[in-house]
């Protein structure tokens, strides 16, 4: 069984936000105007979070870190959902079932990474962007929660392909849009259960750390710290 995971190398990341844009295009995320952004209602499945790091000599500096859903192995969001609208699948992806979600936003408050997003209003695209929606991803109705799916629709395609070729899914069968788009090659994606895969090798690196590991969420997104 494959266990999909991601590695983000902060040494290579230039904080260019290509992943953020690629994700929005890939997943039919409606654009937000300045009014929505000002009240914290713009939707993004992956964002750059600003983290203060303590530097030498008492000078602190900030670092921008790309944060998608961690697809936790022990996800706090799944435990609290009253309607079973968010579940962890066999391959470890934490999925969101839009037609079942009642919009109580309990999962959004329970996620320690605040990566879950709520549809405050109807999704709308200005012309001609409305002609460019991806047919593989459903547009979410108002009132439900959504979040990074590790490009689940791409996984489904990869699964079909593997079945057609009469083989098991394996490392490298698919990449999420963010990983594909990263111009600095700072993002890696693959099978964490395969000991020879690049992600599992990188996840063992001495530079590897995970966000808020101490909370016991067991994230499947690993970061490689900066050398400086």
């Amino acid at each position: 069984m494959t266990r999909w995971g991601m590695v983000i190398d902060l040494e290579r990341c230039t904080a260019c936000q290509a992943c953020v844009v690629a994700c929005k295009v890939e997943n039919n995320i409606p654009p937000a105007g300045p009014e929505d952004a000002a009240v914290g209602r713009s939707i993004a499945w992956i964002r750059l979070a600003r983290m203060e790091t303590q530097e030498h000599g008492g000078v602190s500096s900030a670092q921008l870190v790309p944060v998608p859903c961690m697809h936790c192995e022990n996800p706090p969001c799944v435990k609290v959902c009253p309607a079973n609208a968010t579940r962890i699948g066999e391959e470890g992806l934490v999925a969101q079932v839009y037609p079942r979600c009642i919009g109580c936003r309990y999962c959004t408050t329970a996620c320690p990474y605040t990566v879950r997003q709520f549809n405050w209003k109807d999704a709308a695209w200005p012309e001609p962007l409305d002609q460019a929606l991806s047919p593989d991803v459903s547009v979410r109705p108002r009132g439900v929660v959504e979040k990074c799916s590790f490009c689940h629709h791409r996984l489904m395609l990869a699964r079909d392909r593997a079945r057609f070729e009469k083989r098991e899914l394996q490392d490298g069968d698919y990449l999420p849009a963010c990983v594909e788009s990263c111009p600095a090659n700072a993002m890696f994606f693959g099978d964490l259960d395969d000991p020879h895969s690049e992600v599992s090798r990188l996840a063992e690196s001495p530079r590897a750390f995970r966000l808020m590991e101490e909370l016991g969420t067991r994230p499947k997104v690993t970061y490689l710290s900066r050398g400086d």
Binding site: M51, V80, A85, C104, R105, T109, P112, T114, K121, P141
Partner: protein, 442 residues
């Protein structure tokens, strides 16, 4: 069937027989506020939750605060009345019903607040169709349903003899009372059975009531969020709930007493006794609050401390210190001395202050933790919009109106229990006390 003679107690039935102009003057604005609230709701249904002030990361606001607050108030009635009954506190007689009605009515508004909060209220049945029993919200649905059922039964049972009384008086509503009276004739057998069931129900509702606010607290405590993930939350919420509940009873008693001229029934001694209870809970609440904040401070986990400082000295400081003043300083000042405690105004002022403070307490649990997530986000602050305020006002108004309406159909002070108290209580108490004395036969 001949109608029973009530003598002086006749005054207890007067609100049912006669509706004054004052009642209408009181009802019309309340219903008006409710209609306004419903209008706000249609606006919200029409445009979605963008009509509220909620945002990322403050995903919860006034509605969830209202949920915790209203469910808290519900601990007024059933729980306190059950405890007083079980303790054979004789002074309970004129109070229990006024208290129990609060529980039953306010629960609807507590549950209603959650519905208002849903992005897809039309899908609420998914919680029953596809329940996830790991979720504290599902525990809430279960415990609140059980609580509502039990408190309704517990309100209804002691009403039966009074309903029969009204049935025997005839009038245009007789058919209504006949159905509800379940053929009560007041025979000794029936009386014994009724008292037995009331006794059993009083025992059953206590753990149910405690479970309700414990589970409400677990909605927060079962997450890992800063200053929510606390083991003390269960008992802390229950204490807070009873605290705000007692205050609600005192306010209701004062209004009923004034409106229906029941000064001979709801005496200063009743206010004094409940005021004492309020004082005890003010102390308990302070103890829990201190325990909660001091442990957080000493632990000084950075993510907890961000929330802590935002309450103590930061953005929420003015609300926090108002809460301390209204939950601790004002009630203590008024209730410690008998001179102010044994008065209606003293108790009412203390109670209103406690209600404000407890509402703030709930708000300060929900909002500051959410505004300070572990991974910092762009700084947005939450302020409720007119839609949220209107709905809160609408719910409060409807609750008060329905309470008033209840007094127009049923006696708000239990007629038969007062009568029984007058006829038997003195002897009973004497026997009970005598049995405890050293020289009485075992």
């Amino acid at each position: 069937m001949h109608a029973e003679e009530l003598g002086a107690d006749e005054v207890l039935l007067r609100p049912i027989q006669r509706t004054t102009r004052a009642f209408w003057l009181f009802s019309v604005p309340l219903v008006g506020i409710w209609i306004w609230g419903m209008y706000a709701w249609t606006r919200q249904l029409d445009s979605g939750l963008q009509m509220t002030g909620m945002n990322v990361p403050v995903y919860w606001g006034l509605y969830i605060t209202g949920f915790v607050f209203f469910i808290g108030i519900s601990h007024a009635g059933t729980l306190i009345s059950a405890i007083l009954r079980l303790c054979h506190a004789e002074w309970r007689r004129p109070i229990t019903r006024a208290a129990e009605v609060i529980t039953v009515l306010v629960l609807f508004f507590g549950a209603g607040c959650v519905i208002l909060d849903l992005g897809r209220a039309d899908r609420v049945m998914n919680v029953i169709l596809h329940p996830n029993f790991q979720s504290p919200l599902v525990w809430d649905v279960c415990s609140i349903t059980v609580y509502l059922t039990a408190s309704t039964v517990y309100l209804y049972l002691p009403l039966i003899p009074d309903i029969a009384l009204l049935r025997d008086r005839g009038g245009s509503r007789q058919w209504f009372y006949r159905i509800l009276a379940l053929g009560w004739s007041g025979s000794p057998g029936q009386k014994r059975l009724l008292e037995r069931i009331i006794g059993v129900m009083a025992v059953i509702v206590i753990p149910i009531a405690v479970s309700v606010h414990t589970v409400v607290s677990w909605v927060f405590a079962m997450t890992v969020q800063p200053m929510w993930h606390s083991t003390i939350f269960g008992p802390y919420f229950v204490v807070g709930a009873i605290f705000s509940g007692i205050a609600a009873i005192l306010i209701a008693m004062a209004i009923v007493r004034k409106a229906y001229g029941l000064q001979h029934y709801l005496k200063p001694v009743h206010f004094n006794n409940l005021g004492l209870l309020l004082l005890v809970f003010a102390a308990l609440w302070t103890y829990f609050t201190l325990a909660e904040f001091l442990t957080t401070y000493y632990g000084s986990d950075p993510s907890h401390m961000t929330v802590f400082t935002s309450k103590f000295t930061g953005r929420y400081a003015y609300l926090f210190w108002t809460m301390v003043a209204t939950c601790l300083v004002i009630p203590m000042a008024l209730l410690v001395r008998r001179k102010t405690r044994a008065t209606v105004w003293g108790c009412v002022v203390a109670s209103i202050s406690v209600e404000i403070g407890m509402w703030l307490e709930r708000y300060l649990i929900v909002v500051p933790s959410l505004s300070n997530p572990r991974l910092p986000r762009a700084d947005v602050s939450y302020f409720p919009t007119w839609v949220e305020w209107s709905l809160l006002a609408g719910f409060l108004a409807m609750f008060v109106f329905l309470y008033g309406l209840f007094t127009k159909f049923f006696p708000i002070i239990s007629v038969w229990e007062i009568k029984e108290g007058r006829e038997h209580a003195l002897d009973e108490v004497a026997t009970r006390v005598r049995a405890t004395l050293p020289d009485s036969p075992a």
